[in-house]
């Protein structure tokens, strides 16, 4: 992994549509918006203290992306001493875009996909800020 990268780590919560939104937003950033500057690692690997995953999240700046107030991504990274440089909450983005209600966990639908894009834009703001060295 190049030195100048940011890790984006979604909660991927399986019980709520916003978990899917965080996951899709992360992929949108990784594969379309900032493919050269971002990467992800499985949150489950962090949960079970996988050595390689822990090294990554301690070394590189991380943006956590959570879908509910439990903040599983942020809390799990905090618990292992991860280098959290930014956090995005999809429900906060939804508050500003009430018309973009996701349909379900398995099918976000056009509105849910549009919400994921909005969340992705917030992630990109965080990624750019971190790489520009702004606090």
């Amino acid at each position: 992994m190049s030195e100048n990268k940011v890790l984006v780590i979604p909660c991927s919560g399986i019980g709520k549509a916003h978990g899917t939104v965080t996951r899709q937003a992360t992929y949108y950033v990784l594969e379309k918006l900032r493919p050269e500057k971002t990467q992800t690692t499985c949150l489950a690997l962090i949960v079970v203290d996988d050595e390689e995953a822990l090294k990554l999240v301690k070394k590189y700046p991380c943006v956590t992306v959570d879908g509910c107030p439990y903040e599983c991504s942020k809390k799990n990274l905090e618990a292992v001493g991860g280098n959290i440089a930014g956090s995005v909450m999809s429900t906060k983005v939804f508050r500003d875009n009430r018309d973009l209600k996701p349909e379900s966990v398995t099918e976000l639908g056009p509105k849910g996909e549009a919400l994921a894009e909005k969340v992705a834009e917030k992630i990109v703001e965080e990624v750019d800020r971190i790489l520009d060295g702004k606090s």
Binding site: C42, V47, V48, K75, T106
Partner: protein
Amino acid sequence: MWMIKKIGVISCAGEEIPEGTVSRTATRIVIEDLCPDNTLTICLPLFTAGHEEERAFAINFPTIAVDGCEKRCAEKGIRRFTGNPPDATIIVTDIMKKCNLNPKSRVQLDEEGKRLAMKVAEAVAEEVDKIMEKQLEQSEIPE
């Protein structure tokens, strides 16, 4: 006491690889379509985020781990936070080898990915049936 417990299906949902998307999708197929009355799911990261309700469920109810790869994060998480192994573990890569289906994208499952998710879901459903049968055998049927 005659009591049939629901089964917790816990997926790794690994973000890095298509197999993680398959594990997540398969879990939803099980709880929504194949075994909606007998199963539910729990977010694996909620265990470590310190949620007693989720841990208590996994301690007191049967569980099935659905893992995308041999790292078996869901299985390890269940062992670690409940003190017990899951009642069954299904690994996506094992099923991939058997049925020669290789999903290419982690973002949206392609046709192979969807077919694989269904195969994985069917394997999970078989384990659900076995656990339900075992529970029935062990239950005392009231007079």
